[in-house]
Symmetry: C3
Subunit: 110 residues, 3 copies
Amino acid sequence: MKLIIAVVQAHDAERCSDALANAGFVSTRFTTSGGFLQKGNATLVTGVDDARVDEVLELLRSNARERHDYIAPAMPPVAEPAELFNPFPVEVQVGGATVFVLDVSRFEQL
Amino acid sequence: MKLIIAVVQAHDAERCSDALANAGFVSTRFTTSGGFLQKGNATLVTGVDDARVDEVLELLRSNARERHDYIAPAMPPVAEPAELFNPFPVEVQVGGATVFVLDVSRFEQL
Amino acid sequence: MKLIIAVVQAHDAERCSDALANAGFVSTRFTTSGGFLQKGNATLVTGVDDARVDEVLELLRSNARERHDYIAPAMPPVAEPAELFNPFPVEVQVGGATVFVLDVSRFEQL
Ligand SMILES: Nc1ncnc2c1ncn2[C@@H]1O[C@@H]2COP(=O)(O)O[C@H]3[C@@H](O)[C@H](n4cnc5c(N)ncnc54)O[C@@H]3COP(=O)(O)O[C@H]2[C@H]1O
Ligand SMILES: Nc1ncnc2c1ncn2[C@@H]1O[C@@H]2COP(=O)(O)O[C@H]3[C@@H](O)[C@H](n4cnc5c(N)ncnc54)O[C@@H]3COP(=O)(O)O[C@H]2[C@H]1O
Ligand SMILES: Nc1ncnc2c1ncn2[C@@H]1O[C@@H]2COP(=O)(O)O[C@H]3[C@@H](O)[C@H](n4cnc5c(N)ncnc54)O[C@@H]3COP(=O)(O)O[C@H]2[C@H]1O
């Protein structure tokens, strides 16, 4: 068995967990936030047979979208001459799903 | 060392983490939700010596209960003749604890 | 790749995830609670190249502080003669960061 840990954007979380459930996968959802943008996102965790890992990755690939997000630039640590500091928001590209696959050494339903 | 990840029902979370603490185990609780029923549940995570994994599983087995839950059936995608569509809630059996045991390659207390 | 799971105190969570981001690491934050003190804490998860695990541990070591916490003692199960029961809060030492390092068998950005 493998444990699949997928960080997806908040917009895509419900579509992804519904797609997994419709394909017969069981999953658990954690409400999380990104370390960089400090915005809410979601982490979906699902334990699956080794043979079905690719099927889960395919479902995530087609249900999690890449988007652009904007962060207001922090005031630079050293005060630059005013005309050099660019006050406009900086564009950051946020991927669809970031996925870690781990080995499960034992699985029990008690 | 092993990392034990146990998804339990919300009703059982406090009883399970108290049972672990009383037996000298240290654990961390994550508030989660199920992908299928979309209801709140809890995920307890505890890192333990390999030799004590069975003791943790036994504590979870006796503190997490199996229950029946009900979900209202979604309207079927293709409209069936009215007399075929069963509007009554569907019974779903929810287990006591779903447990994943993972190998820990390194453990540090900083 | 390794998945680093670090439980830190709520006070230190922001300083730790900022330190990781400033060093170029990407991380995800889970809001959690301790099984024993039942107080809010935080779990930071970051997937990193094997070669950079020590760098992450060093950042956590210098950004997560050890503190003393107090818990009110529960009434003992068997009523002791009043003069033996100590009503004063019990001091508990809470570490800086508790860290689990796991092997990642596959990493994908979809
Ligand atoms: N230190 C840094 N310097 C410069 N740019 C940075 C950066 N940290 C993150 N970014 C950029 O910001 C986006 C959002 O990151 P955030 O940490 O909020 O949200 C992240 C994080 O919650 C999670 N994630 C991604 N890689 C991870 C990893 N290796 N470990 C743990 N979580 C990860 O997935 C979310 C989306 O990540 P994605 O890579 O698509 O998109 C990232 C990345 O393009
Ligand atoms: N392999 C796995 N990976 C990750 N998390 C796992 C898991 N197996 C169980 N869980 C977690 O444990 C909860 C209870 O699962 P259980 O199998 O006892 O009870 C399940 C199962 O009897 C049923 N079920 C779940 N997914 C289903 C699906 N796709 N089709 C049909 N029945 C499903 O509904 C009950 C509640 O499911 P729900 O998703 O709300 O909540 C799940 C989920 O949060
Ligand atoms: N092996 C492990 N697996 C999973 N999570 C772990 C862990 N070791 C530590 N943690 C997490 O880190 C927090 C701080 O643990 P620490 O050992 O520094 O500090 C602990 C420890 O000094 C003490 N403690 C915890 N459980 C105990 C127990 N069963 N008996 C006596 N003292 C306990 O109370 C402090 C706070 O514990 P709390 O549970 O509230 O919060 C814990 C827990 O959320």
